[in-house]
Every structure is written in structure tokens, then in C-alpha cells.
């Protein structure tokens, strides 16, 4: 797109120069997201400060058939917010108002650029919080969470982003503005659940302008248990015991030896030297949680853990989670580059999946660290490689591909919470039939006939930008964001 392009001319009338970026140096920030292997430079970026500007921008893009990508903080792990070369990037960070909080009805109305954790901060004085907790929650935005139906460590009990959205106002890819849902806990309530359809559509349907989210009361009591095992399989079996017991923990997480060592080196969480660590966290009313915690400790002892630690206070709980949540950036210290996958397997096949991943890593002669949401079978294998060595990325990608194929074969999914984005689009045909993909494409075209919204994502396509190896995102290196 040259400067004389009619879209740029139209945008100049809409945005002041400081919010319409066209110079290379200005656009550098937006070249990549948290999947740093992909880089692509947009023709221009705009920074709207009002809903009206977003709507007008989308209408112009539709009119002139110019593809656009909406972006919040760019923490997508699947390349979901990667710009389209010669397309427009719409940076939504300035639409960051929390419009209202109604603690009595436990709802908040926010703009898409609001940072996930800021909702919790605003709700905290009322004893409430916003539940979905992706590891990047201190910088990722709700708009991005909506596009990718983001999860986190605490999704087992209360669900992912989609489960916390009650109402939305959106601009569809062709500029039509529509609203669905309500202020009621029942959300859409009458009529099809459009929230469920829009959330997780990876930016292919349009841009969320205003979102009503539900808030939850902060649990009265957390009880966090760390169990150390001399064998990864034992930790997996322990998860089965917890699940069979009828308890519903807030989080069940496992880390393997390599991940433990990395976390230890990075944040000194004080983890035991073990083959596997299991973190189980109970939350809720104190009398209930204390009763279950006693039961949990007995169960973990019987599961063959060689060491059990329970957090005695909030500081100890925070330390246990610091190691877990920082594990990814920590693993990054062990290796110049890594790929993280987030495939899902049925929980009962976790042990089998881990054994096979171990065999695959030997076959490909690569190191793999495992950190995962064991409660919902959501794996996060981190494949370490050195991008400076010729062929290393390709080798790592081959291993990643085999892990995804394994997840599908075991009856799971190629992604539990990171989305398909750029990264996994070529695996869609392995998970969905041609007809299913055709239906999704038909749906997409019914909403976006010119295929301008986040073009090139989710669906298999030949228009992939060149792969590059650049190592970690600068923010990731500093531990501000992490790939969970």
C-alpha cells in the first residue's frame, strides 16, 4: 500500500498524524506478537480513541477491500495478532476505559483495550475479581482475550473467557454494528448464543467495541498444595485420584524436571528437586476448603509423593505460583528459542501422551520441557531449539507437528487456549473434515465477504509470511509476559 492509497487518504481525514503511523520506525513495534518466529510489517497502523473511529476504520477497510488486524498488547502465542503485510493494523490500547462496575449485580462494562488484570484491580474493593487468568494477564487486553477465548491456570472450575462474557457490542468485518447479550447473568438468554460464537473467532468476524463481563466474589480461602514425585507418571496418576474423589479444585498443574529446574534458576521458587511437581489449589468457603484439604493431603501422601508442601500464607502461595507462571520465560533461559504448543488430550490419556512425547523428543533429539494444566488435559510442551543452527527450527516444528497429531489421535484438540492463529492453521485439516472447514469458511464469508478481518489466520492458506528466528520477545526476556 503506497502513501497515495485511497485508504491512507481517508484515514488521514479521520486520524491526526500522531495516531496514524506509516513510517517504518513507528511500525516496528507491531511487526510481531508473542509468537516471535513470525514477522510482518503492516502498511499503516491506526490508534483509535473512540468507538466511532473503530467503526469508521472498519467501514473504510471494507469499502476499499484492505485487510486489517485488530491488536491489543500483542501477546498472542499463536501469531493471532500478526499484522498483514500491506494491510492495516488497528491498535486498540487507547480504548481502555472501564465504563462501569456494578458490584451488586457483579458485572463490569469495559472497552476492548482494557488490560485483563485491571478489571480485577477495579473490582477488588468490592471483594470481586475477573476470573480468567492467562499468564500474560498483567498486559494482555480483553479484546484479545475475546478473540482467542483465552484461558489460564484457573479455568477448570469457572471456564475460559467465553464463560465470563454476558454482553457485547461489535463491529462486524463489513462495518455493520450489532449488539447481543444483556446485563443478566443469563447473557443472550433468548435467541442463539452469539457471544459463544463471537468469542474465540480469532478476529475473523470483527472487532469487539464494548464488553459486559461477569465478576466473581473472591474466594474466602485458598489452600495450595505442592507435591513432589520421582516419576512424572505418578504425578499424572495423582491427578486421576483427585478427579475421582469428587473434589473440584480451582487449579491442577504439573511441571516436569526441566521446567522445575528452569523455574528454580529463574525465580528461586524453592521447589524440591523432583522429576515432577503437582500443584493443586482448592478455593472456596473456609469450612469446605479446610475439610477437603485434609482429604487432599491424605490422597497425595497415598499417591507416592516424596514431599508435600502446603502454602501457610498468601506469600507462600504466591511463591508456588510464581515458579509455575514464570516457568515459560524461565525455560527460555535454557535455550535461545523455543516453540510452545497447547494441545489437549483427554485427561485419562495424559500419562500416555507424556510417554509418547518423551519418545518423540528422543527421536528428534530435542529437549522438551512440560508444564501443563493437568486438570483439563491441556498440555504445554516447550520445544527447545537454537534458531541460529540451520534446520533447527524446521526440526522443532516437525516435533511440534507430531505432538499435535498425537493430541488429535488421542481424541483431543490442537489448541486448548492459545487459538489456531498463524501457527496451527495448517493442522486444521487434521482436526476438522473438509466439510467442517467448508462450513466455517462459509460462515466467515457470510460475515466478512471480502475476507479482510485478520486474513490469513485460522484457515490453511498459502500466504504465510517468511519465518524468522529472533528468540524471545523483549518483554518476555524480562519476565513481563510469558507463554502459558
Amino acid at each position: 500500500m503506497k502513501n497515495a492509497h485511497p485508504l491512507l487518504q481517508a484515514l488521514e481525514a479521520l486520524y491526526p498524524p500522531e495516531r496514524l503511523l506509516t513510517r517504518d520506525a513507528q511500525l516496528l513495534t507491531y511487526e510481531s506478537d508473542a509468537l516471535t518466529a513470525f514477522h510482518s510489517k503492516p502498511a499503516a497502523a491506526v490508534i483509535p480513541i473512540s468507538e466511532a473511529e473503530v467503526i469508521e476504520t472498519v467501514r473504510l477497510c471494507h469499502q476499499l477491500a484492505v485487510p486489517f488486524v485488530a491488536r491489543g498488547s500483542g501477546t498472542s502465542l499463536s501469531g493471532g495478532s500478526l499484522p498483514i503485510a500491506d494491510g492495516l493494523l488497528v491498535a486498540l490500547n487507547r480504548l481502555n476505559r472501564i465504563k462501569s462496575i456494578d458490584p451488586e449485580q457483579r458485572i463490569a462494562v469495559v472497552e476492548p483495550g482494557v488490560v485483563n488484570l485491571h478489571i480485577t484491580h477495579a473490582a477488588a474493593p468490592y471483594g470481586l475479581y475477573y476470573a480468567p487468568d492467562p499468564s500474560s494477564q498483567s498486559i494482555c487486553t480483553i479484546g484479545g482475550n475475546i478473540a482467542f477465548n483465552s484461558g489460564g491456570a484457573h479455568c477448570l472450575k469457572y471456564g475460559m473467557t467465553s464463560n465470563h462474557v454476558l454482553g457485547m457490542k461489535v463491529v462486524l468485518a463489513d462495518g455493520a454494528v450489532t449488539e447481543f447479550g444483556s446485563d443478566s447473568l443469563d447473557g443472550c438468554g433468548v435467541g442463539p448464543d452469539l457471544i459463544g460464537l463471537f468469542v474465540g473467532s480469532e478476529g475473523l468476524f470483527g472487532i469487539a467495541l464494548e464488553i459486559t463481563v461477569r465478576l466473581l466474589p473472591q474466594p474466602e480461602r485458598y489452600r495450595t498444595l505442592l507435591a513432589a514425585y520421582d516419576d512424572l507418571g505418578k504425578a499424572g496418576d495423582a491427578v486421576s485420584r483427585v478427579v475421582a474423589s469428587g473434589m473440584l479444585p480451582g487449579a491442577i498443574e504439573i511441571m516436569d524436571r526441566l521446567a522445575i529446574q528452569a523455574a528454580e534458576a529463574a525465580v528461586q521458587a524453592g521447589y524440591p528437586d523432583a522429576e515432577a511437581l503437582l500443584i493443586v489449589e482448592l478455593e472456596g468457603e473456609a469450612p469446605q476448603v479446610e475439610a477437603e484439604f485434609a482429604q487432599l493431603q491424605a490422597m497425595m501422601r497415598a499417591s507416592g509423593a516424596f514431599e508435600l508442601r502446603s502454602a501457610r500464607d498468601e506469600a507462600e502461595r504466591a511463591r508456588i505460583w510464581k515458579g509455575r507462571k514464570g516457568a515459560f520465560s524461565a525455560v527460555g533461559r535454557l535455550s535461545p528459542d523455543y516453540i510452545v504448543q497447547d494441545g489437549v488430550v483427554p485427561r485419562s490419556r495424559l500419562g500416555e501422551a507424556l510417554t509418547r512425547i518423551k519418545a518423540l523428543k528422543t527421536k528428534h533429539q530435542l529437549e522438551v520441557a512440560n508444564v501443563f494444566h493437568a486438570g483439563d488435559g491441556n498440555l504445554h510442551p516447550l520445544i527447545l531449539y537454537d534458531g541460529r543452527q540451520p534446520g533447527a527450527l524446521e526440526k522443532a516444528e516437525a516435533l511440534a507437528g507430531e505432538i499435535l497429531a498425537l493430541c488429535i489421535k488421542l481424541g483431543g484438540s490442537i489448541t486448548g487456549e492459545h487459538g489456531v492463529g498463524m501457527e496451527k492453521r495448517d493442522y486444521m485439516p487434521a482436526m476438522f473434515s473438509e466439510q467442517e472447514l467448508d462450513i466455517m469458511q462459509a460462515l466467515r464469508r457470510a460475515i466478512d465477504p471480502k475476507e479482510i478481518a485478520n486474513r490469513g489466520k485460522m484457515f490453511p492458506s498459502g500466504e504465510a509470511p517468511a519465518l524468522q528466528q529472533r528468540g524471545m520477545h523483549p518483554l518476555e526476556r524480562q519476565g513481563v509476559i510469558s507463554r502459558e
Binding site: 469457572y158 447473568l185 448464543d193 459463544g196 469450612p287 483427554p346 485427561r347 481424541g411 473434515s433 460462515l443
Partner: protein, 355 residues
């Protein structure tokens, strides 16, 4: 004469959809208001497509054919100490497909969420007669568009469900229920708002008119040892913070938590609203029997005059759905979203076959 088919297999249903101009799906017909009577509409009765396809308690997932009676699913889950947390509304008569199509969660929805929060995937036959699956079968899945949630509340007008997969949870082994009495609606709502911001994790919270004011029913579920102290704490907190006229423990029966139980009129409808709109709705529908479920977020209303309810809801900007009664237009009040829905219709049912 109306054409009717009771398919036993997906292929039969596909043929039926392909061979007719207008098709309407039904299960057990427990929601009489939702079934059009026009002679030119062919009826696909799914009651023979029933049965659990896969239930793995350790996975917290259950797949069943759409025509499965809720009662059958509940019994299988209860045998493993599990349940459908959205609490299907008409457990004795409805099928799971009809419950999804009409989006009917019961009082226990208050604890963990509604139907849409627990549906994981579905197999469907769409308006084009194509059979395919949407969503997934594992508890977490972010691949592709989530059309399974879209089916919730879709009234079978986009695709006919043939199989459904849900996330299930372990059920609480014991329950206790409290009845609180308040003289005014404002006092009862204040109690709901207090509970909304409290540490108490209620299994259900319903509000209903009583002879001398309002009754608030609160239910706790959990372990046997923890339940008595929890009940005592919540009762004490409500006594000191919300000053009820009375606060008594009542027998926790299944009947107590069936919100439609005492609603008896020509028409029964669901209304979606935030609790702060209850006073306005009360003024708009005076004389109707009603019960407010899920902390006052869903109203169940029984009336002899459905047209008046429709007008009242429209004036208030609230949406409703008539479930029972001989009613021409089950969608009440504020019209549902039409822009995005129409695009989905164009993709899944381009000939407008499914009604």
C-alpha cells in the same frame, strides 16, 4: 396433513431435511409453545434418537443423542456422583436437545453457569441436510469457530442437533436450604446484592412472592461436616446485614428447586433480566404468577394474557420466550439480535428450511 418422521439415524434425518421445504425439529414436546402447527411444516421427531453415546466420569464429559430424556442423563450421572451444573429446567419431561434449543437452565445455574457454559460440542444436520460436528469432545478446546454455543437458544432454526457433548462436574453430596422472608421487594433485593458480594458460595438463590412479602430461597451444597457451620454462618450474616422477618431452614427437596412448580396458567414464559430490573418488571406484569431464579437474573412468569406480557416486555426492553401455551409467537418483548444471526442462517440454512 402434516408430514412427520421419527428418524433413528442421522442419514434418515438428512434425507428428511433434504426432502421437505420447511422442517421443524421436536423432542418430547414438553414446551408446547415452541412447536408451530402449520400444515406445510414437516416435523422431525427426534425422540427415537436417544441414549448416552459416551460417558467418562474421569473426563467430566458426557455425550448423548439429542432425543435423550434429561431424566436418563441425570440418572447415569448421579450414579457416578456427577451432574449437569446448568440444571436442566424440565428434568422429568424434556429431552436434552430441546433443552439446548430453548436454552433452559434451572435454579442451580447460579453456582457455576448456564447451559452455554457446559456445552462442548454437537453433531448436527443443518438446513442444507449436511451432517457434521461442531465444537469438540474434550473439556477445553479453542480450535475453530464455536458453533456449539451458538446452538444454545437457537430453537432448531439453524441446524438440528443429533448429538451433544457436555462438561459435567462432581455434584455436592449434601444440601441445605434456607428460607428468608422480607416485607418489601427492595429488602429482598438488598439481600441478593449482599450475597452477590459475599464469600458465600450458594448452589442456588431464588426469589418468589409470598403472602406477606417476599421469600428468598438460598441453597448450599457441600460436604456433610462443613455444611452445618456454613449454614449457620450465612444465616447469621443475613440476620445481621439484611434484617429478614424470618430465616428458617427448610427441607431441601427436589420440588423446592423446580422453579415452574407452582406456576399454573395458560402460558408460562422465561424472561431474561438483571435483578435491578425486577421492580420495573413487577410494575409491568402485576397479577402474574412469577418466580425469579439465579439470583434474580431469570424470571419465570405464568399468565393468562400472553399478548399483554409481550407488550410489557417490549416496553421494558426485555426479551422473553413463551414455553408453554398455545401461542403464535413464542419470542416475546425485545426482538433478538438479527444482524449476525442472519449471517449464520445464510451459511447454515441458506434456503430457510428450518423453522
Amino acid at each position: 396433513m402434516t408430514t412427520q418422521s421419527k428418524p433413528r439415524a442421522v442419514a434418515e434425518l438428512q434425507d428428511f431435511v433434504r426432502g421437505n421445504t420447511l422442517v421443524h425439529a421436536r423432542g418430547n414436546g414438553s414446551k408446547s409453545a415452541l412447536h408451530p402447527a402449520a400444515a406445510d411444516i414437516a416435523i422431525a421427531d427426534l425422540s427415537l434418537m436417544r441414549g448416552i453415546v459416551e460417558y467418562q466420569p474421569a473426563e467430566f464429559t458426557l455425550s448423548a443423542r439429542a432425543g435423550s430424556p434429561i431424566a436418563e442423563l441425570k440418572a447415569a450421572l448421579a450414579a457416578e456422583g456427577q451432574y449437569l451444573p446448568f440444571d436442566p429446567l424440565l428434568p422429568e419431561r424434556a429431552t436434552i436437545g430441546g433443552t439446548v434449543a430453548a436454552n433452559l437452565s434451572g435454579s442451580r445455574r447460579y453456582r457455576y453457569g448456564g447451559l452455554r457454559d457446559f456445552i462442548l460440542g454437537a453433531s448436527v444436520v443443518d438446513g442444507g441436510g449436511r451432517a457434521y460436528t461442531v465444537g469438540g469432545k474434550v473439556v477445553k478446546n479453542a480450535a475453530g469457530f464455536d458453533l456449539s454455543k451458538f446452538l444454545v437458544g437457537s430453537l432448531g432454526q439453524y441446524a438440528i442437533m443429533t448429538e451433544l457433548t457436555f462438561k459435567v462436574f462432581p455434584d455436592a453430596p449434601h444440601f441445605s436450604s434456607l428460607r428468608l422472608r422480607y416485607q418489601t421487594l427492595d429488602a429482598a433485593l438488598a439481600a441478593i446484592f449482599f450475597l452477590n458480594q459475599s464469600i458465600f458460595e450458594l448452589d442456588a438463590l431464588d426469589l418468589l412472592p409470598a403472602a406477606d412479602g417476599w421469600s428468598l430461597l438460598a441453597r448450599l451444597g457441600g460436604g456433610a461436616d462443613a455444611l452445618p457451620p456454613r449454614l449457620e454462618r450465612i444465616r447469621a450474616a443475613l440476620q445481621s446485614e439484611t434484617a429478614p422477618q424470618a430465616a428458617e431452614e427448610v427441607a431441601d427437596t427436589a420440588r423446592l428447586w423446580q422453579p415452574l412448580r407452582q406456576l399454573d396458567a395458560a402460558f408460562v414464559a422465561k424472561v431474561v433480566l438483571p435483578p435491578k430490573r425486577i421492580p420495573a418488571l413487577e410494575r409491568g406484569i402485576s397479577g402474574c404468577q412469577r418466580r425469579y431464579s439465579c439470583g434474580g437474573n431469570i424470571a419465570w412468569v405464568a399468565t393468562e394474557d400472553i399478548a399483554a406480557l409481550d407488550r410489557a416486555l417490549a416496553a421494558l426492553g426485555l426479551a422473553g420466550l413463551c414455553l408453554q401455551g398455545d401461542c403464535e409467537k413464542p419470542l416475546l418483548g425485545k426482538a433478538p439480535e438479527s444482524i449476525l444471526s442472519a449471517r449464520v442462517k445464510a451459511a447454515l440454512d441458506p434456503d430457510g428450511k428450518l423453522v
